[in-house]
């Protein structure tokens, strides 16, 4: 019994520490606000009603209870009790914290220089607006209640009848999936493909019209980051060259568009399309020029040099020397948009179509390259550059090609980005943006197209949607990356190379089919 008690206290203490951390950064209020949102409060206050904070306490208790009850093959009552103990212990730690907070409140000590969130209102809110002693007691009770609930939940989950029910459900799902696959992979395969593609096309045409401006803006950004991510993926994922300052090529695209198609500083007004083409070309040329001296470098050295290149571009754009030519820190405004068949593009909806087009183009080029002879050469270089050279692969040419095409993708995304926002400035092209792109392809799965889309959505889309979490974005970034690398080291959707499976029977063996254009 003694060891059992100790086993319950340990997860309780962990959750208690997590809770203390959460309170000190004000995360408990945030969760409470989210709860308020979910239950239908339109505009919750900065300190929401006590009920929602209580819900937060119970949630933390449940977490502690679940943590304590896991891996226990005991009776229902014992597991629930373990949960209760864990929750209660976390609650006592929470109570001690609140006791401390109450002292700060009563004695009017100013700690906000260090812990900015700990205002008087915040502390009162954390105590559910009650008297300190009462608040502490309620907290402990709520945590213990949550813990018991959590323990019971786990016990119920592990109980034989529920597991049997679950297994039946899983088997049913598997069977249905298999049946569905039988239908879609049978002789009707082509029909199914046509149907799904036309469905997708319909969605592409009609969804942007109904999303509204905000969603089109958010998803447009995601789409541009998909193009950018695919570009970086050609260099990093396919050919294995770790390029860090990738956003520099994006900046070159954006500034080409800005300088050629804005009233200031030159009033060139070339129009969108010529500026776009030139932006892509200039980015590609920059990729070539950067690549030439880089061809002797590998791994870390390549990463450091490209990092330097990215920073040089940003600082040049920002510097006083070039203020007269590039607008300096203020950037360039009023960049013009495209016109198709006499119809000017102004709204985010219009740009959404343009971005979808760019995305499809990038995806098409990417997948063609990946499955070509060129893609095979890149793969060989990524695996072992020396052996690739010894096998007769022109490694310099293919590495340069990867950089040039990747840079061109980035230039395309940058030019559209500048035109859509009608603005570009040096701070848009900071190191953080490069890191974002690299993170998104790693989180999504190096080298894979669905992975890139997933990663772009997770890293660029989610923060926009969860505006409240804005302050925690970097925290979430870090946590997500660490969790990702631990649980799925290959990313959400790892790259699956087309495998040329050769059947075992020699008489039916045929040469593997493969696109060949090189």
């Amino acid at each position: 019994m003694n060891t059992s008690l100790r086993k319950s206290i340990r997860p309780g203490a962990t959750i208690g520490i997590v809770h203390i951390f959460f309170v000190l950064i004000g995360f408990n209020m945030l969760v409470a606000i989210l709860f308020a949102r979910v239950s239908g409060v339109k505009q919750p206050d900065a300190i929401p009603a006590p009920v929602y904070l209580m819900a937060y306490s119970i949630t933390m208790g449940i977490w502690a209870g679940v943590a304590a009850a896991q891996k226990r093959k005991q009776e229902f009552r014992q597991v629930a009790f373990a949960g209760c103990v864990a929750g209660g212990f976390a609650g006592i730690m929470a109570g001690l914290l609140e006791f401390g907070l109450a002292i700060i409140l009563v004695k009017n000590i100013n700690v906000r220089d260090v812990l900015t969130v700990l205002s008087a209102n915040f502390i009162k809110g954390t105590l559910f607006g009650m008297q300190p002693a009462m608040g502490v007691m309620v907290t402990v009770m709520l945590f213990a209640l949550g813990g018991t609930l959590g323990g019971a939940l786990v016990a119920f989950w592990n109980s034989t009848p529920f597991q049997a029910f679950l297994n039946r459900g899983i088997r049913f799902t598997k069977d249905s999936v298999q049946k569905a696959q039988g239908v879609t992979h049978g002789k009707n395969r082509l029909l199914w493909q046509i149907a799904s593609i036309s469905l997708l096309a319909l969605a592409v045409v009609f969804l942007p019209l109904n999303w509204g401006s905000y969603w089109n803006y958010v998803l447009g950004t995601v789409g541009l980051y998909v193009v950018l991510g695919l570009g970086l993926n050609i260099a990093v994922g396919l050919s294995g060259q770790l390029v860090l300052g990738f956003i520099a090529f994006f900046a070159i695209g954006a500034y080409s568009m800005a300088l050629l198609n804005a009233p200031l500083p030159y009033h060139l007004m070339w129009g969108f399309w010529p500026a776009l083409v030139l932006g892509v070309l200039l980015a590609a040329v920059a990729g070539l020029l950067l690549g030439l001296p880089l061809m002797r470098l590998r791994g870390d050295y390549l990463a450091i040099v490209t990092l330097g290149f990215g920073e040089i571009i940003r600082i040049l754009l920002k510097s006083d020397v070039l203020t007269a030519y590039t607008g300096g820190p203020r950037g360039i405004q009023n960049i013009g948009g495209p016109t198709i068949f006499g119809r000017p593009f102004v709204t985010d909806v219009d740009f959404m179509y343009l971005i979808i087009g760019a995305m499809l183009l990038a995806m098409f080029i990417y997948s063609r390259l990946q499955n070509s002879r060129t893609g095979r050469a890149w793969l060989a270089i990524r695996e072992d550059e020396t052996v690739a050279r010894a096998s007769g692969v022109n490694t310099v040419r293919y590495k340069l090609l990867a950089l040039v095409i990747g840079a061109a993708f980035a230039g395309l995304a940058g030019a559209i980005f500048a035109s859509r926002n009608q603005f570009t400035g040096p701070e848009e092209h900071s190191l953080m943006a490069s890191i974002n792109v690299l993170s998104l392809i790693i989180v999504g799965g190096l080298g894979s197209i669905p992975g890139t889309i997933m990663g772009a959505f997770a890293l660029k889309g989610l923060p926009e949607i969860l505006r409240e979490f804005e302050n925690y974005r970097l925290l979430a970034f870090g946590a997500l990356l660490v969790a990702m690398m631990l649980s799925k080291p290959d990313g959400f959707i790892p790259s699956r190379r087309p495998k040329f499976q050769i059947p075992i029977q020699p008489e039916t063996r045929e040469a593997p089919k493969e696109q060949d254009h090189d």
């Binding site: 793969l379 695996e383 052996v387 690739a388 010894a390 096998s391 007769g392 692969v393 050769i502």
Partner: protein, 242 residues
Amino acid sequence: MILNIENINVHYGAIQALKDVSFNLNEGEIVTLIGANGAGKSTCLNTISGILHPTSGRVTFIDEEITNTSPQDIVKKHMIQVPEGRKIFASMSVWENLEMGAYIHSDRSQIKKRIDQVFERFPRLKERRNQPGGTLSGGEQQMLAISRGLMAEPRVLLLDEPSMGLAPILVEQIFDIIREINHNGTSILLVEQNALMALSIADRGYVLDSGKVVLEGKADDLLRNPMVIKAYLGGEAIGSEL
């Protein structure tokens, strides 16, 4: 003479790795370069295959100077290197590894034929054709690395330490394979630390020490040379084996 190396000097920065090294390979021969670690054996191979370029000297391959030719062009002339340490493309399947060996050729049916020939010679590779190269055993990986070299239809095969890290029984198998490849008409330049094995299958040998050729001759003579026995064959033990 199919391959002729004349007075090559190779530098890594300020360090001179090869000093006036000359040797040659006749059509149909197995010639071995033996020597201790750091003697410059792999540097020799990398210079011949174009991965390194000498600061001076000449490399001639079938009456054509290839001193400063790029690796891919040398592969196109049907001379290919099998790098040391069983280097294969670990995540590519056995089949894909073999296709990479024929990267410079674009005739699909020809490649297919070559792969069938390789599979005939190495049934083990055929069994494992869909398996990633990295999952093969050490001996099989070396087999694959050599087969990948054969895919380029080499007239000269440059082998860098094929015995490295293999159990003695596997080393013998690999050397049997090398001998067989040679019988089928491919000239072989073999770099080895395992001097006994190398000299026992070679026609001629060169001993490299600190970037210089210190000894050369018929393999049988080298096996009996007191200096070679002392330095590379571990004393007198060799006498009983011959």
